[in-house]
């Protein structure tokens, strides 16, 4: 008994040391960014790096918000990310359901096609997508970005959600259909609530990707007032200098909405992945 207790507390000690290390490892670079966001350039690079901003300044934040309109930029990112997420979830769940439930000609082709678009490096689609958007008159609109993000996030959504649908016994809808429900009713009333967590997970991953996407954000949108956050942040690498302070401040400001979102969705995320992932 005595021995067991000892090994138990040793385990506990090891576990908490491990957790401590993980947190330190994760948080330090972000702390460093936060620290630098309050420093002037001359204080960022010093022979003895300072762990605290000893001459704290809010200049970086004010430069970012007032001169660079960063809040508008964040709003643009939010609009584009949110709308593309909603569309991805709506479309991906329908398709994943169908792919999970029915056998039909061309199913393999659709699965392969879907994943193939994800395998192509996004930069290689820039030229053809640009002329496509141009001929549709969509350049310099948020629609162009939303469409591009939908196309690139659908594969992930479909492949993840198929797993969730696979986990739900088919008998559930079959009995519902016997009771006179249409297939769509069966889908909406019975299956959909059961995969809600999976939908949450898809939504979160789609949102993260769209929120942080840079290349299309830069190429498809030209007006400053429609620009998204990653594009503004990349502008911190100027001709001669990297604007370290505003860059750090921008990283922190761009992280905050995501942090709130994740804290809020944490439960959905974990339980959401639970259902589908088991099947791989």
């Amino acid at each position: 008994m005595h021995v067991e207790l000892k090994s138990f507390s040793l385990n506990r000690l090891l576990r908490w040391t491990g957790i401590g290390f993980v947190i330190l490892w994760t948080i330090f670079p972000i702390y460093w960014m936060l620290n630098n966001s309050f420093k002037k350039r001359v204080d960022i690079f010093t022979e003895q790096p300072s762990l605290l901003p000893f001459n704290p300044t809010l200049a970086n934040y004010s430069q970012l918000i007032i001169e660079m309109d960063f809040l508008v930029t964040l709003k643009n990112s939010l609009i584009v990310a949110a709308i593309s997420t909603i569309i991805v979830v709506a479309i991906a769940s329908l398709s994943a359901y169908s792919l999970s439930r029915y056998n039909f000609k061309g199913k393999k082709l659709i699965l392969l096609w879907v994943i193939l678009t994800r395998i192509f490096p996004p930069i290689t689609f820039v030229i053809p997508l640009y002329s496509l958007m141009g001929s549709a008159g969509l350049l310099n609109t948020q629609v162009a970005l939303i469409l591009a993000y939908v196309a690139f996030n659908l594969p992930f959504g479909i492949w993840l959600l198929i797993n969730f649908f696979n986990d739900i016994p088919m008998e559930l809808e079959e009995s519902a259909t016997v009771d006179g429900a249409s297939p769509f009713q069966a889908y909406r009333k019975i299956v959909l609530p059961l995969v809600a967590p999976g939908i949450g997970a898809t939504a979160i991953f789609t949102f993260i990707t769209a929120w942080n996407e840079f290349l299309y954000g830069l190429i498809f949108v030209q007006s400053q007032e429609l620009m998204t956050a990653p594009v503004t942040l990349s502008g911190m690498i100027t001709e001669y200098l990297v604007l370290w302070g505003p860059m750090s401040a921008g990283g922190i400001l761009s992280l905050l909405p995501m942090l709130i979102f994740v804290l809020f969705m944490q439960k959905t995320m974990v339980s959401g992945l639970t259902g589908g992932a088991v099947k791989g």
Binding site: V22, I27, Y102, L111, F120, A277
Partner: protein, 290 residues
């Protein structure tokens, strides 16, 4: 498995529309262009050259360096990400007070814009002013030329990538871990299995599908790595951090050699498909096994 009915197709219509509209033309464009010689900036005419672009590609020693670097990078980074993701998941498996907050903290790196991740690490890697070398010398270790030595640079970028994307593996594995029924472990303990044995014979087999999923998704994404090289090293020193997508980027967007760049793209796509064919097949199987 239900038989086909109208619903199948109706449910698929939106996806099919999106893909018909947005991906068919780009896919055809890329595949066609790869057999032509064409400079987009110069507006030169499309000249059919067959496989010549591919031939030139295979003769370019820089392409092979990029190929080698990318493979090394993908293998090391993805296995570390999955390994640490698994370790983190095991550490954070138990629910305790504040575990939701701590888990959210672990996810943070994944939420940051990639450009700020790269720039912040660049700052920390600086030889003279970087915080990492400062700590190293503080504890009496020699400072390291993280980004400026050809031996270290690729590995330094691996570290950054692992920092950013381990949370992805962590999250998916953690979710899966929580679905393993507790009684499995209890009966194993009753039968005298050690903690390690339980992990080896119960946890790992049950996690196998999800580990494969993570491997698959991370391999695809890591193959496309480019932004970190672009910001941290510019592909240098020498050719130490040259990668395939960086190579394609330069050909396609600095020189606008569209034909050649698309040929390189297709080669990369084929490599990824070959690497993941096993996984794709297993998904086909599970999609039909019902």
């Amino acid at each position: 498995m239900q038989r086909t009915n109208k619903m199948t197709y109706i449910f698929l219509i939106p996806t099919i529309i999106v893909f018909l509209v947005l991906t068919v033309y780009p896919l055809l464009y890329v595949i066609t262009a790869s057999f032509f010689s064409m400079n987009y900036l110069q507006g030169t005419e499309w000249k059919f050259v067959g496989f010549q672009g591919y031939q030139e590609l295979f003769q370019d020693s820089l392409f092979w360096v990029a190929f080698k670097n990318t493979i090394i990078f993908v293998v090391i980074a993805v296995s570390l990400e999955v390994f640490f993701g698994l370790m983190f998941a095991i550490l954070f498996q138990k629910n305790f007070k504040g575990s939701a907050i701590i888990r959210s903290i672990v996810l943070l790196p994944m939420l940051l814009p990639p450009i700020t991740v790269a720039l912040t690490w660049k700052m920390m890697y600086e030889y003279d002013y970087g915080i990492i070398n400062y700590f190293l010398t503080l504890v009496g270790l020699p400072a390291i030329e993280w980004l400026s030595s050809a031996d270290w640079a690729l590995f330094s970028i691996v570290i950054t990538d692992v920092w950013q994307w381990t949370p992805f593996a962590f999250l998916i594995i953690l979710a899966s871990l929580q679905t393993i029924p507790k009684d499995l472990y209890e009966s194993a303990a009753v039968n005298g299995a050690s903690g390690f044995q339980a992990f080896r014979y119960i946890t790992l087999p049950l996690l196998k599908p999800v580990i494969l999923l993570v491997l698959f998704l991370r391999t695809i994404d890591t193959f496309q790595i480019f932004d970190k090289m672009y910001v941290l090293t510019g592909g240098g020193p020498g050719n130490a951090t040259e990668t395939l997508t960086f190579y394609i980027y330069r050909q396609g967007f600095r020189y606008f050699e569209t034909g050649y760049a698309t040929a390189a793209t297709l080669v990369v796509v084929i490599i990824i498909v070959i690497l993941s064919i096993g996984y794709i097949k297993s998904v086909y199987k599970s999609a039909y096994s019902r």
